[in-house]
Protein backbone atom coordinates (compact mmCIF):
# COMPACT_ATOMS: atom_id res chain seq x y z
CA UNK A 1 0.00 0.00 0.00
CA UNK A 2 1.27 3.43 -0.90
CA UNK A 3 1.53 6.06 1.77
CA UNK A 4 -0.03 9.48 1.20
CA UNK A 5 3.41 11.04 0.83
CA UNK A 6 4.56 8.62 -1.83
CA UNK A 7 1.33 8.85 -3.80
CA UNK A 8 1.69 12.62 -3.82
CA UNK A 9 5.24 12.28 -5.20
CA UNK A 10 3.94 9.99 -7.92
CA UNK A 11 1.16 12.39 -8.80
CA UNK A 12 3.44 15.41 -8.75
CA UNK A 13 5.72 13.84 -11.34
CA UNK A 14 2.95 12.20 -13.38
CA UNK A 15 4.59 8.81 -12.77
CA UNK A 16 3.26 6.08 -15.08
CA UNK A 17 3.97 2.49 -14.10
CA UNK A 18 3.30 -0.33 -16.59
CA UNK A 19 4.48 -3.80 -17.45
CA UNK A 20 5.45 -6.56 -15.12
CA UNK A 21 8.71 -8.17 -14.17
CA UNK A 22 11.14 -8.75 -11.33
CA UNK A 23 13.16 -5.67 -12.16
CA UNK A 24 12.12 -2.12 -12.74
CA UNK A 25 13.33 0.03 -15.61
CA UNK A 26 12.92 3.74 -15.07
CA UNK A 27 13.02 6.09 -18.07
CA UNK A 28 13.87 9.78 -17.69
CA UNK A 29 13.33 12.40 -20.38
CA UNK A 30 15.92 15.05 -21.17
CA UNK A 31 15.83 18.78 -21.81
CA UNK A 32 13.06 19.68 -24.25
CA UNK A 33 10.10 17.34 -24.19
CA UNK A 34 8.42 15.00 -21.72
CA UNK A 35 8.10 11.30 -20.93
CA UNK A 36 6.35 10.70 -24.27
CA UNK A 37 9.88 10.65 -25.73
CA UNK A 38 10.45 7.25 -24.17
CA UNK A 39 7.18 5.55 -25.03
CA UNK A 40 8.37 3.92 -28.28
CA UNK A 41 11.22 2.24 -26.36
CA UNK A 42 9.55 1.67 -22.99
CA UNK A 43 6.68 -0.30 -24.46
CA UNK A 44 9.18 -2.89 -25.77
CA UNK A 45 10.17 -3.73 -22.19
CA UNK A 46 6.72 -4.03 -20.66
CA UNK A 47 6.62 -7.81 -21.06
CA UNK A 48 9.61 -8.53 -18.82
CA UNK A 49 10.15 -5.34 -16.81
CA UNK A 50 8.09 -3.08 -14.64
CA UNK A 51 8.50 0.21 -16.54
CA UNK A 52 8.37 3.64 -14.95
CA UNK A 53 7.96 6.91 -16.85
CA UNK A 54 7.73 10.35 -15.29
CA UNK A 55 7.95 14.09 -16.01
CA UNK A 56 10.26 16.51 -14.28
CA UNK A 57 8.42 19.37 -12.59
CA UNK A 58 7.19 21.94 -15.07
CA UNK A 59 7.29 19.44 -17.94
CA UNK A 60 4.49 17.41 -19.49
CA UNK A 61 1.68 16.71 -17.06
CA UNK A 62 3.67 17.31 -13.89
CA UNK A 63 2.56 19.68 -11.15
CA UNK A 64 4.45 22.89 -11.92
CA UNK A 65 3.13 24.51 -8.75
CA UNK A 66 5.60 22.42 -6.74
CA UNK A 67 8.50 24.02 -8.64
CA UNK A 68 10.85 26.67 -7.29
CA UNK A 69 13.60 28.44 -9.20
CA UNK A 70 15.92 28.46 -6.19
CA UNK A 71 15.71 24.72 -5.63
CA UNK A 72 16.17 23.67 -9.26
CA UNK A 73 19.25 25.73 -10.01
CA UNK A 74 21.42 22.63 -10.38
CA UNK A 75 21.04 19.03 -11.53
CA UNK A 76 21.31 17.87 -7.93
CA UNK A 77 17.69 18.83 -7.27
CA UNK A 78 16.57 16.80 -10.30
CA UNK A 79 18.55 13.82 -9.01
CA UNK A 80 16.87 14.26 -5.61
CA UNK A 81 13.50 14.05 -7.35
CA UNK A 82 14.54 10.82 -9.10
CA UNK A 83 15.57 9.36 -5.74
CA UNK A 84 12.29 10.48 -4.19
CA UNK A 85 10.30 8.78 -6.94
CA UNK A 86 12.49 5.67 -6.58
CA UNK A 87 11.85 5.58 -2.82
CA UNK A 88 8.10 5.98 -3.35
CA UNK A 89 8.22 2.94 -5.66
CA UNK A 90 10.63 1.10 -3.33
CA UNK A 91 13.13 0.53 -6.13
CA UNK A 92 16.15 -1.74 -5.60
CA UNK A 93 18.72 -2.74 -8.18
CA UNK A 94 16.67 -1.13 -10.90
CA UNK A 95 17.77 0.03 -14.36
CA UNK A 96 17.84 3.78 -14.95
CA UNK A 97 17.58 4.86 -18.58
CA UNK A 98 18.33 8.56 -18.97
CA UNK A 99 18.24 10.59 -22.15
CA UNK A 100 20.54 13.57 -22.64
CA UNK A 101 20.92 15.53 -19.41
CA UNK A 102 19.04 12.77 -17.57
CA UNK A 103 21.97 10.44 -18.18
CA UNK A 104 23.97 12.57 -15.74
CA UNK A 105 20.96 13.05 -13.45
CA UNK A 106 20.77 9.23 -13.24
CA UNK A 107 24.47 9.00 -12.39
CA UNK A 108 23.98 11.58 -9.60
CA UNK A 109 20.91 9.70 -8.34
CA UNK A 110 22.93 6.46 -8.22
CA UNK A 111 25.50 8.24 -6.04
CA UNK A 112 22.78 9.49 -3.68
CA UNK A 113 21.05 6.10 -3.42
CA UNK A 114 23.53 3.37 -4.44
CA UNK A 115 21.07 0.53 -3.70
CA UNK A 116 18.42 1.97 -6.02
CA UNK A 117 20.03 1.65 -9.45
CA UNK A 118 22.65 -0.94 -10.35
CA UNK A 119 22.50 -0.36 -14.10
CA UNK A 120 22.60 2.98 -15.88
CA UNK A 121 21.81 3.44 -19.55
CA UNK A 122 23.13 6.83 -20.62
CA UNK A 123 21.77 8.01 -23.98
CA UNK A 124 23.74 10.94 -25.37
CA UNK A 125 25.37 11.86 -22.05
CA UNK A 126 27.50 14.93 -21.43
CA UNK A 127 29.08 15.79 -18.08
CA UNK A 128 29.88 19.32 -19.27
CA UNK A 129 28.57 21.08 -22.38
CA UNK A 130 30.87 24.10 -22.36
CA UNK A 131 34.48 23.81 -23.57
CA UNK A 132 37.16 23.89 -20.91
CA UNK A 133 40.92 23.60 -20.84
CA UNK A 134 41.77 20.18 -22.19
CA UNK A 135 38.09 19.34 -22.68
CA UNK A 136 35.78 19.84 -25.65
CA UNK A 137 32.13 19.87 -24.68
CA UNK A 138 31.15 21.55 -27.94
CA UNK A 139 29.56 24.70 -26.56
CA UNK A 140 30.63 28.22 -25.67
CA UNK A 141 29.12 30.32 -22.93
CA UNK A 142 27.77 32.87 -25.47
CA UNK A 143 25.94 30.11 -27.32
CA UNK A 144 23.96 29.25 -24.21
CA UNK A 145 22.55 32.79 -24.28
CA UNK A 146 21.39 32.23 -27.85
CA UNK A 147 19.59 29.12 -26.73
CA UNK A 148 17.91 31.06 -23.92
CA UNK A 149 16.86 33.65 -26.52
CA UNK A 150 15.25 30.92 -28.61
CA UNK A 151 13.32 29.73 -25.57
CA UNK A 152 12.16 33.28 -24.88
CA UNK A 153 10.96 33.62 -28.50
CA UNK A 154 9.17 30.27 -28.54
CA UNK A 155 6.74 29.23 -25.88
CA UNK A 156 6.11 25.92 -27.59
CA UNK A 157 2.63 24.76 -26.79
CA UNK A 158 2.70 26.79 -23.62
CA UNK A 159 0.20 29.38 -22.64
CA UNK A 160 -0.36 30.29 -19.03
CA UNK A 161 -4.00 30.83 -19.83
CA UNK A 162 -4.40 27.52 -21.62
CA UNK A 163 -7.68 25.90 -20.75
CA UNK A 164 -7.53 22.15 -20.30
CA UNK A 165 -9.21 21.84 -23.67
CA UNK A 166 -8.46 18.67 -25.55
CA UNK A 167 -8.26 18.48 -29.31
CA UNK A 168 -8.63 15.34 -31.31
CA UNK A 169 -6.01 14.14 -33.75
CA UNK A 170 -7.90 12.11 -36.32
CA UNK A 171 -4.83 11.69 -38.56
CA UNK A 172 -2.73 10.00 -35.91
CA UNK A 173 -5.07 8.30 -33.48
CA UNK A 174 -2.19 6.52 -31.74
CA UNK A 175 -1.36 9.85 -30.14
CA UNK A 176 -4.66 9.89 -28.36
CA UNK A 177 -5.87 13.38 -27.74
CA UNK A 178 -3.10 15.75 -26.87
CA UNK A 179 -2.73 19.42 -27.42
CA UNK A 180 -0.58 20.88 -30.14
CA UNK A 181 3.11 20.72 -29.16
CA UNK A 182 2.11 19.52 -25.72
CA UNK A 183 4.95 16.97 -25.64
CA UNK A 184 7.35 19.84 -25.43
CA UNK A 185 5.08 21.97 -23.34
CA UNK A 186 7.14 23.47 -20.57
CA UNK A 187 6.56 26.48 -18.41
CA UNK A 188 8.84 29.04 -20.15
CA UNK A 189 10.48 30.12 -16.90
CA UNK A 190 11.15 26.49 -15.97
CA UNK A 191 12.49 25.67 -19.44
CA UNK A 192 14.91 28.56 -18.98
CA UNK A 193 16.03 27.31 -15.59
CA UNK A 194 16.40 23.75 -16.86
CA UNK A 195 18.44 24.99 -19.85
CA UNK A 196 20.76 26.84 -17.47
CA UNK A 197 21.04 23.93 -15.03
CA UNK A 198 21.74 21.60 -17.95
CA UNK A 199 24.10 23.55 -20.13
CA UNK A 200 26.06 25.19 -17.33
CA UNK A 201 26.52 21.92 -15.43
CA UNK A 202 29.90 20.34 -14.81
CA UNK A 203 29.70 16.86 -13.35
CA UNK A 204 32.95 15.48 -14.70
CA UNK A 205 34.20 15.03 -11.15
CA UNK A 206 31.30 12.75 -10.24
CA UNK A 207 31.81 10.17 -12.97
CA UNK A 208 34.73 8.42 -11.20
CA UNK A 209 32.63 7.61 -8.13
CA UNK A 210 29.76 5.95 -10.02
CA UNK A 211 29.63 2.32 -8.93
CA UNK A 212 26.68 1.27 -11.10
CA UNK A 213 27.37 -0.58 -14.34
CA UNK A 214 26.82 1.82 -17.22
CA UNK A 215 26.07 1.69 -20.92
CA UNK A 216 26.93 4.79 -22.93
CA UNK A 217 24.71 4.96 -26.02
CA UNK A 218 26.20 7.44 -28.44
CA UNK A 219 24.55 8.77 -31.61
CA UNK A 220 26.62 9.14 -34.73
CA UNK A 221 26.01 12.77 -35.49
CA UNK A 222 24.87 14.51 -32.35
CA UNK A 223 25.67 18.21 -32.07
CA UNK A 224 24.53 18.33 -28.44
CA UNK A 225 26.56 15.41 -27.19
CA UNK A 226 29.35 14.82 -29.72
CA UNK A 227 31.09 11.45 -30.01
CA UNK A 228 34.23 12.61 -28.18
CA UNK A 229 32.11 13.57 -25.17
CA UNK A 230 30.49 10.12 -25.10
CA UNK A 231 33.96 8.57 -25.24
CA UNK A 232 35.08 10.81 -22.40
CA UNK A 233 32.16 9.63 -20.25
CA UNK A 234 32.96 6.02 -21.10
CA UNK A 235 36.60 6.39 -20.09
CA UNK A 236 35.81 8.29 -16.87
CA UNK A 237 33.26 5.75 -15.60
CA UNK A 238 34.77 2.81 -13.66
CA UNK A 239 32.48 0.18 -15.20
CA UNK A 240 31.04 1.09 -18.56
CA UNK A 241 30.39 -0.15 -22.06
CA UNK A 242 30.34 2.15 -25.08
CA UNK A 243 28.09 1.66 -28.06
CA UNK A 244 27.96 3.89 -31.10
CA UNK A 245 24.49 3.86 -32.68
CA UNK A 246 23.83 4.20 -36.39
CA UNK A 247 21.08 6.62 -35.42
CA UNK A 248 21.86 10.29 -35.99
CA UNK A 249 20.70 13.38 -34.12
CA UNK A 250 20.10 13.70 -30.43
CA UNK A 251 16.91 11.69 -29.96
CA UNK A 252 17.50 8.07 -31.00
CA UNK A 253 14.70 7.05 -28.62
CA UNK A 254 12.37 8.61 -31.19
CA UNK A 255 14.25 8.32 -34.44
CA UNK A 256 15.53 4.75 -33.91
CA UNK A 257 13.59 3.14 -31.05
CA UNK A 258 14.35 -0.40 -32.25
CA UNK A 259 18.10 0.11 -32.31
CA UNK A 260 17.98 1.65 -28.84
CA UNK A 261 15.80 -1.21 -27.55
CA UNK A 262 18.23 -3.83 -28.85
CA UNK A 263 21.20 -2.07 -27.30
CA UNK A 264 19.51 -1.82 -23.89
CA UNK A 265 18.35 -5.44 -24.04
CA UNK A 266 21.86 -6.72 -24.77
CA UNK A 267 23.21 -4.67 -21.87
CA UNK A 268 20.73 -5.77 -19.20
Amino acid sequence: MESAASSSVLRRHNVQVSGSGERTMMFAHGFGCDQTMWQPVARNFERDFRTVLFDYLGHGQSDASAYSTERYSSLDAYADDVVEIGRALELRDAVFVGHSVSAMIGALASLKAPEMFCDLVMVGPSPRYIDDEGYRGGFSREQIDELLQFLADNHLGWSAAMAPAIVGNPDRPELGSRLENSFCRTDPAIARDFARATFLSDNRGDLGSVRARALVLQCSDDIIAPVQVGEYVHSALPRSEFRLLNATGHCPNLSAPDEVTTAIREFV
Binding site: L147, L151, N154, R178, H250
Partner: protein, 376 residues
Protein backbone atom coordinates in the same frame (compact mmCIF):
# COMPACT_ATOMS: atom_id res chain seq x y z
CA UNK B 1 -14.20 40.70 -72.66
CA UNK B 2 -11.92 39.22 -70.05
CA UNK B 3 -8.22 38.47 -70.10
CA UNK B 4 -7.31 34.81 -70.39
CA UNK B 5 -6.24 33.69 -66.87
CA UNK B 6 -2.48 33.36 -66.69
CA UNK B 7 -1.37 29.83 -65.82
CA UNK B 8 0.91 29.33 -62.80
CA UNK B 9 4.36 27.88 -63.42
CA UNK B 10 4.83 25.42 -60.53
CA UNK B 11 8.59 25.24 -60.92
CA UNK B 12 8.83 29.01 -60.76
CA UNK B 13 6.35 29.12 -57.88
CA UNK B 14 8.63 26.82 -55.87
CA UNK B 15 11.83 28.64 -56.72
CA UNK B 16 10.71 32.25 -56.32
CA UNK B 17 7.81 31.93 -53.88
CA UNK B 18 7.66 34.75 -51.32
CA UNK B 19 8.79 32.26 -48.70
CA UNK B 20 11.72 29.90 -48.23
CA UNK B 21 11.43 26.16 -48.90
CA UNK B 22 13.89 23.64 -47.50
CA UNK B 23 13.62 19.86 -47.49
CA UNK B 24 15.80 17.91 -45.06
CA UNK B 25 16.71 14.23 -44.93
CA UNK B 26 16.16 12.25 -41.73
CA UNK B 27 19.89 12.69 -41.06
CA UNK B 28 19.47 16.46 -41.15
CA UNK B 29 21.02 17.10 -44.58
CA UNK B 30 19.41 19.63 -46.93
CA UNK B 31 18.15 17.76 -50.02
CA UNK B 32 16.35 20.64 -51.72
CA UNK B 33 16.03 24.38 -51.19
CA UNK B 34 14.46 27.14 -53.26
CA UNK B 35 16.04 30.28 -54.66
CA UNK B 36 14.22 32.57 -52.23
CA UNK B 37 15.96 31.12 -49.19
CA UNK B 38 19.28 30.89 -51.02
CA UNK B 39 19.02 34.63 -51.68
CA UNK B 40 18.21 35.37 -48.04
CA UNK B 41 21.27 33.40 -47.03
CA UNK B 42 23.47 34.90 -49.72
CA UNK B 43 24.42 31.47 -51.05
CA UNK B 44 23.85 29.78 -54.41
CA UNK B 45 20.84 27.43 -54.20
CA UNK B 46 22.91 24.52 -55.48
CA UNK B 47 25.44 24.97 -52.69
CA UNK B 48 22.81 24.46 -50.03
CA UNK B 49 21.98 20.94 -51.17
CA UNK B 50 24.11 18.47 -49.29
CA UNK B 51 24.94 20.74 -46.34
CA UNK B 52 23.65 19.94 -42.86
CA UNK B 53 20.66 22.08 -41.88
CA UNK B 54 22.62 23.07 -38.77
CA UNK B 55 24.85 25.21 -40.96
CA UNK B 56 22.03 27.61 -41.80
CA UNK B 57 20.59 27.77 -38.28
CA UNK B 58 21.58 30.08 -35.46
CA UNK B 59 22.90 28.35 -32.39
CA UNK B 60 19.65 28.54 -30.43
CA UNK B 61 17.78 27.10 -33.40
CA UNK B 62 20.36 24.33 -33.77
CA UNK B 63 19.87 23.12 -30.20
CA UNK B 64 16.12 23.63 -30.30
CA UNK B 65 15.98 21.71 -33.57
CA UNK B 66 17.40 18.69 -31.75
CA UNK B 67 15.73 19.08 -28.38
CA UNK B 68 12.30 20.31 -29.43
CA UNK B 69 11.56 20.34 -33.16
CA UNK B 70 12.86 16.92 -34.20
CA UNK B 71 11.00 15.16 -31.35
CA UNK B 72 7.79 17.10 -32.03
CA UNK B 73 8.00 16.27 -35.72
CA UNK B 74 8.43 12.59 -34.94
CA UNK B 75 5.57 12.59 -32.46
CA UNK B 76 2.96 14.80 -34.08
CA UNK B 77 4.17 14.99 -37.67
CA UNK B 78 4.29 18.77 -37.84
CA UNK B 79 5.31 21.88 -35.95
CA UNK B 80 3.87 25.29 -36.68
CA UNK B 81 4.92 28.88 -36.01
CA UNK B 82 8.40 28.39 -34.68
CA UNK B 83 10.62 31.45 -34.40
CA UNK B 84 13.87 30.30 -36.02
CA UNK B 85 16.95 32.36 -36.77
CA UNK B 86 18.90 31.61 -39.92
CA UNK B 87 22.55 32.49 -40.42
CA UNK B 88 23.66 34.03 -43.72
CA UNK B 89 26.93 33.33 -45.48
CA UNK B 90 28.22 36.55 -43.85
CA UNK B 91 27.17 35.34 -40.40
CA UNK B 92 24.22 37.69 -40.10
CA UNK B 93 21.00 36.57 -38.48
CA UNK B 94 17.72 36.38 -40.40
CA UNK B 95 14.72 35.98 -38.10
CA UNK B 96 12.02 33.78 -39.60
CA UNK B 97 8.79 32.08 -38.66
CA UNK B 98 8.82 28.44 -39.72
CA UNK B 99 6.33 25.67 -40.23
CA UNK B 100 7.60 22.12 -40.62
CA UNK B 101 6.03 18.82 -41.55
CA UNK B 102 7.37 15.32 -41.97
CA UNK B 103 6.90 13.59 -45.29
CA UNK B 104 6.47 9.92 -44.49
CA UNK B 105 6.58 6.66 -46.38
CA UNK B 106 3.49 4.49 -46.53
CA UNK B 107 4.85 2.49 -43.57
CA UNK B 108 5.17 5.63 -41.47
CA UNK B 109 8.94 5.86 -41.70
CA UNK B 110 10.50 9.26 -42.12
CA UNK B 111 11.33 10.27 -45.71
CA UNK B 112 12.19 13.91 -45.24
CA UNK B 113 11.13 17.03 -43.41
CA UNK B 114 9.74 20.04 -45.24
CA UNK B 115 10.35 23.46 -43.79
CA UNK B 116 8.56 26.59 -44.97
CA UNK B 117 10.04 29.84 -43.68
CA UNK B 118 8.83 33.42 -43.68
CA UNK B 119 11.09 36.35 -43.01
CA UNK B 120 9.97 38.04 -39.81
CA UNK B 121 12.47 40.82 -39.14
CA UNK B 122 9.99 43.48 -38.07
CA UNK B 123 7.71 41.02 -36.35
CA UNK B 124 10.55 39.64 -34.24
CA UNK B 125 11.63 43.16 -33.36
CA UNK B 126 8.06 43.90 -32.32
CA UNK B 127 7.77 40.71 -30.29
CA UNK B 128 11.04 41.33 -28.51
CA UNK B 129 9.98 44.90 -27.76
CA UNK B 130 6.86 43.46 -26.17
CA UNK B 131 8.92 40.95 -24.20
CA UNK B 132 11.25 43.69 -23.01
CA UNK B 133 8.31 45.86 -22.04
CA UNK B 134 6.84 42.98 -20.09
CA UNK B 135 10.10 42.27 -18.30
CA UNK B 136 10.35 45.96 -17.44
CA UNK B 137 6.76 46.09 -16.20
CA UNK B 138 7.33 42.98 -14.11
CA UNK B 139 10.43 44.49 -12.56
CA UNK B 140 8.59 47.71 -11.77
CA UNK B 141 5.64 45.84 -10.30
CA UNK B 142 8.04 43.93 -8.11
CA UNK B 143 9.62 47.14 -6.80
CA UNK B 144 6.19 48.62 -6.17
CA UNK B 145 4.99 45.50 -4.42
CA UNK B 146 7.98 45.60 -2.13
CA UNK B 147 7.41 49.28 -1.39
CA UNK B 148 3.73 48.64 -0.68
CA UNK B 149 4.65 45.78 1.61
CA UNK B 150 7.03 48.00 3.53
CA UNK B 151 4.36 50.66 3.81
CA UNK B 152 1.84 48.17 5.10
CA UNK B 153 4.32 46.75 7.56
CA UNK B 154 4.94 50.29 8.74
CA UNK B 155 1.20 50.82 9.23
CA UNK B 156 0.95 47.54 11.13
CA UNK B 157 3.84 48.41 13.43
CA UNK B 158 2.62 51.98 13.92
CA UNK B 159 -0.91 50.82 14.72
CA UNK B 160 0.39 48.24 17.10
CA UNK B 161 2.76 50.62 18.88
CA UNK B 162 0.10 53.33 19.21
CA UNK B 163 -1.98 50.99 21.30
CA UNK B 164 0.30 51.15 24.34
CA UNK B 165 0.35 54.93 24.80
CA UNK B 166 -3.40 54.94 24.14
CA UNK B 167 -3.94 52.31 26.83
CA UNK B 168 -1.78 54.36 29.23
CA UNK B 169 -3.80 57.49 28.48
CA UNK B 170 -7.07 55.62 29.02
CA UNK B 171 -5.80 54.25 32.36
CA UNK B 172 -4.77 57.79 33.41
CA UNK B 173 -8.15 59.26 32.46
CA UNK B 174 -9.88 56.47 34.37
CA UNK B 175 -7.78 57.13 37.46
CA UNK B 176 -8.44 60.87 37.28
CA UNK B 177 -12.18 60.25 37.12
CA UNK B 178 -12.19 57.82 40.01
CA UNK B 179 -9.61 59.09 42.45
CA UNK B 180 -9.31 62.82 41.92
CA UNK B 181 -11.68 65.56 42.94
CA UNK B 182 -12.48 67.48 39.80
CA UNK B 183 -14.46 70.60 39.13
CA UNK B 184 -17.59 70.43 37.00
CA UNK B 185 -15.53 71.75 34.11
CA UNK B 186 -12.82 69.18 34.75
CA UNK B 187 -15.37 66.35 34.60
CA UNK B 188 -16.73 67.59 31.25
CA UNK B 189 -13.21 67.76 29.80
CA UNK B 190 -12.52 64.27 31.09
CA UNK B 191 -15.64 62.90 29.43
CA UNK B 192 -14.64 64.53 26.13
CA UNK B 193 -11.17 63.05 26.49
CA UNK B 194 -12.74 59.64 27.02
CA UNK B 195 -14.75 60.01 23.83
CA UNK B 196 -11.64 61.01 21.88
CA UNK B 197 -9.72 58.07 23.30
CA UNK B 198 -12.47 55.67 22.25
CA UNK B 199 -12.41 57.10 18.72
CA UNK B 200 -8.63 56.86 18.56
CA UNK B 201 -8.81 53.21 19.65
CA UNK B 202 -11.33 52.41 16.91
CA UNK B 203 -9.08 54.10 14.32
CA UNK B 204 -6.08 52.08 15.48
CA UNK B 205 -8.09 48.84 15.39
CA UNK B 206 -9.22 49.64 11.85
CA UNK B 207 -5.64 50.33 10.81
CA UNK B 208 -4.53 47.01 12.20
CA UNK B 209 -7.35 45.24 10.40
CA UNK B 210 -6.33 46.92 7.16
CA UNK B 211 -2.70 45.94 7.62
CA UNK B 212 -3.67 42.35 8.38
CA UNK B 213 -5.95 42.23 5.35
CA UNK B 214 -3.42 43.61 2.89
CA UNK B 215 -0.39 41.80 4.27
CA UNK B 216 -1.98 38.64 3.00
CA UNK B 217 -2.57 37.20 6.44
CA UNK B 218 -6.25 37.78 5.80
CA UNK B 219 -8.68 38.49 8.56
CA UNK B 220 -8.15 36.11 11.37
CA UNK B 221 -11.59 34.82 12.22
CA UNK B 222 -12.49 32.46 14.96
CA UNK B 223 -15.78 30.78 14.19
CA UNK B 224 -18.11 29.08 16.60
CA UNK B 225 -21.77 28.13 16.86
CA UNK B 226 -22.41 30.33 19.92
CA UNK B 227 -25.64 32.42 19.79
CA UNK B 228 -25.42 35.51 17.61
CA UNK B 229 -28.56 37.40 18.65
CA UNK B 230 -27.13 38.97 21.85
CA UNK B 231 -24.20 40.47 19.94
CA UNK B 232 -26.49 41.95 17.28
CA UNK B 233 -28.79 43.43 19.93
CA UNK B 234 -25.80 44.94 21.67
CA UNK B 235 -24.54 46.53 18.42
CA UNK B 236 -27.96 48.09 17.72
CA UNK B 237 -28.17 49.41 21.30
CA UNK B 238 -24.68 50.94 21.04
CA UNK B 239 -25.49 52.67 17.78
CA UNK B 240 -28.75 54.00 19.20
CA UNK B 241 -26.84 55.52 22.10
CA UNK B 242 -24.18 57.00 19.80
CA UNK B 243 -26.84 58.57 17.54
CA UNK B 244 -29.85 59.17 19.79
CA UNK B 245 -31.34 61.65 17.33
CA UNK B 246 -31.81 58.92 14.67
CA UNK B 247 -34.53 56.31 14.41
CA UNK B 248 -33.06 52.82 14.11
CA UNK B 249 -35.68 50.12 13.61
CA UNK B 250 -34.40 46.61 14.26
CA UNK B 251 -35.77 43.17 13.46
CA UNK B 252 -33.60 40.24 14.59
CA UNK B 253 -34.93 36.73 13.88
CA UNK B 254 -31.86 34.57 13.93
CA UNK B 255 -32.16 30.85 14.41
CA UNK B 256 -28.97 29.42 15.91
CA UNK B 257 -26.54 28.08 15.08
CA UNK B 258 -24.81 30.44 12.69
CA UNK B 259 -21.23 29.27 12.31
CA UNK B 260 -19.31 32.56 12.45
CA UNK B 261 -16.93 34.80 14.36
CA UNK B 262 -19.47 36.68 16.49
CA UNK B 263 -17.16 39.58 17.25
CA UNK B 264 -16.42 40.07 13.56
CA UNK B 265 -20.08 39.84 12.52
CA UNK B 266 -20.82 42.38 15.24
CA UNK B 267 -18.10 44.61 13.75
CA UNK B 268 -19.63 44.19 10.28
CA UNK B 269 -23.10 45.11 11.60
CA UNK B 270 -21.66 48.07 13.48
CA UNK B 271 -19.77 49.33 10.41
CA UNK B 272 -22.85 49.07 8.19
CA UNK B 273 -24.96 50.93 10.76
CA UNK B 274 -22.28 53.61 11.21
CA UNK B 275 -22.22 54.04 7.45
CA UNK B 276 -26.00 54.45 7.33
CA UNK B 277 -25.84 57.01 10.15
CA UNK B 278 -23.11 59.07 8.44
CA UNK B 279 -24.48 58.93 4.90
CA UNK B 280 -28.25 58.45 5.25
CA UNK B 281 -30.76 61.33 5.28
CA UNK B 282 -30.79 62.95 8.73
CA UNK B 283 -34.58 62.78 8.97
CA UNK B 284 -35.06 59.31 7.47
CA UNK B 285 -35.27 56.07 9.43
CA UNK B 286 -32.62 53.37 9.41
CA UNK B 287 -33.71 49.75 9.39
CA UNK B 288 -31.59 46.88 10.62
CA UNK B 289 -32.70 43.35 9.76
CA UNK B 290 -31.02 40.05 10.58
CA UNK B 291 -32.55 36.68 9.78
CA UNK B 292 -31.77 33.12 8.86
CA UNK B 293 -33.42 31.48 5.88
CA UNK B 294 -32.48 27.98 4.81
CA UNK B 295 -28.72 27.72 4.96
CA UNK B 296 -28.20 31.48 4.80
CA UNK B 297 -27.66 34.13 7.40
CA UNK B 298 -28.74 37.49 5.99
CA UNK B 299 -28.14 40.88 7.55
CA UNK B 300 -29.23 44.10 5.91
CA UNK B 301 -29.07 47.77 6.76
CA UNK B 302 -31.14 50.34 4.87
CA UNK B 303 -31.29 54.10 5.02
CA UNK B 304 -33.10 56.87 3.18
CA UNK B 305 -31.37 59.60 1.22
CA UNK B 306 -29.88 60.38 -2.17
CA UNK B 307 -28.86 57.28 -4.15
CA UNK B 308 -25.16 56.45 -4.31
CA UNK B 309 -23.73 57.67 -7.65
CA UNK B 310 -22.49 54.90 -9.96
CA UNK B 311 -18.88 56.11 -9.82
CA UNK B 312 -18.92 55.98 -6.03
CA UNK B 313 -20.55 52.55 -6.09
CA UNK B 314 -17.54 51.03 -7.90
CA UNK B 315 -15.13 52.06 -5.17
CA UNK B 316 -17.36 51.68 -2.16
CA UNK B 317 -15.46 48.77 -0.62
CA UNK B 318 -11.96 50.04 -1.28
CA UNK B 319 -9.89 51.03 1.71
CA UNK B 320 -9.55 54.75 2.49
CA UNK B 321 -12.54 55.53 0.30
CA UNK B 322 -14.86 58.16 1.68
CA UNK B 323 -17.72 59.02 -0.64
CA UNK B 324 -15.96 62.38 -1.12
CA UNK B 325 -19.37 63.94 -1.21
CA UNK B 326 -18.67 65.61 2.07
CA UNK B 327 -15.71 65.27 4.32
CA UNK B 328 -16.44 62.69 6.92
CA UNK B 329 -16.21 63.84 10.49
CA UNK B 330 -14.15 60.92 11.52
CA UNK B 331 -12.87 57.57 10.30
CA UNK B 332 -10.34 56.58 7.70
CA UNK B 333 -12.84 55.26 5.19
CA UNK B 334 -12.13 51.73 6.29
CA UNK B 335 -15.56 50.73 7.64
CA UNK B 336 -17.02 49.26 4.46
CA UNK B 337 -13.68 47.80 3.41
CA UNK B 338 -13.41 45.95 6.72
CA UNK B 339 -17.06 44.86 6.52
CA UNK B 340 -16.46 43.37 3.08
CA UNK B 341 -13.27 41.62 4.26
CA UNK B 342 -15.20 40.14 7.20
CA UNK B 343 -17.86 38.99 4.72
CA UNK B 344 -15.24 37.34 2.49
CA UNK B 345 -13.62 35.63 5.45
CA UNK B 346 -17.01 34.04 6.15
CA UNK B 347 -17.43 32.90 2.52
CA UNK B 348 -20.13 35.53 2.21
CA UNK B 349 -20.59 38.81 0.37
CA UNK B 350 -22.14 42.23 0.67
CA UNK B 351 -24.44 43.54 -2.06
CA UNK B 352 -25.63 47.10 -2.39
CA UNK B 353 -28.78 48.45 -3.96
CA UNK B 354 -29.38 52.17 -4.04
CA UNK B 355 -32.26 54.15 -5.50
CA UNK B 356 -34.34 57.17 -4.58
CA UNK B 357 -36.35 55.12 -2.10
CA UNK B 358 -33.53 53.63 -0.08
CA UNK B 359 -29.91 52.50 0.01
CA UNK B 360 -29.52 48.97 1.28
CA UNK B 361 -26.44 46.94 2.14
CA UNK B 362 -27.16 43.21 2.33
CA UNK B 363 -24.70 40.72 3.76
CA UNK B 364 -25.32 37.02 3.16
CA UNK B 365 -23.24 34.04 4.28
CA UNK B 366 -23.71 30.28 4.55
CA UNK B 367 -24.88 29.36 8.03
CA UNK B 368 -23.31 25.98 8.47
CA UNK B 369 -19.75 24.80 8.73
CA UNK B 370 -18.27 24.57 5.24
CA UNK B 371 -17.57 21.02 4.12
CA UNK B 372 -13.88 21.11 3.26
CA UNK B 373 -12.57 18.35 1.04
CA UNK B 374 -10.46 15.91 3.00
CA UNK B 375 -6.77 16.59 2.59
CA UNK B 376 -4.68 13.52 2.13
Amino acid sequence: MSDPSPTEDLEDLYETAPCGYVSISPAGIIVKANRTIAEWLGRPAGELVGTPVHEILGFGGKIAFETHLAPLLRMQGHVHEIALELITAEGEKVPTIANAAEKREADGSHRFTRLTLFRAVDRRKYERTLLDARAKAEAETKVQREAALLREQFIAVLGHDLRNPLAALAAGVRLLGRKEKLSERGLTILEEMNGSLARASVLVDDLLDLARGSLGGGFAIDRSNAPLTPILKQVVAEMRSIAPERTIGASIEVEDPVYCDRGRIGQLASNLLANAISHGARDGPITFEAATTGNLFILSVANAGAPIPEKVMERLFQPFFRGAIRPSRNGLGLGLYIASEVAKAHDGRIDVTSDRKETRFTFAMPRSEPVTPKVE
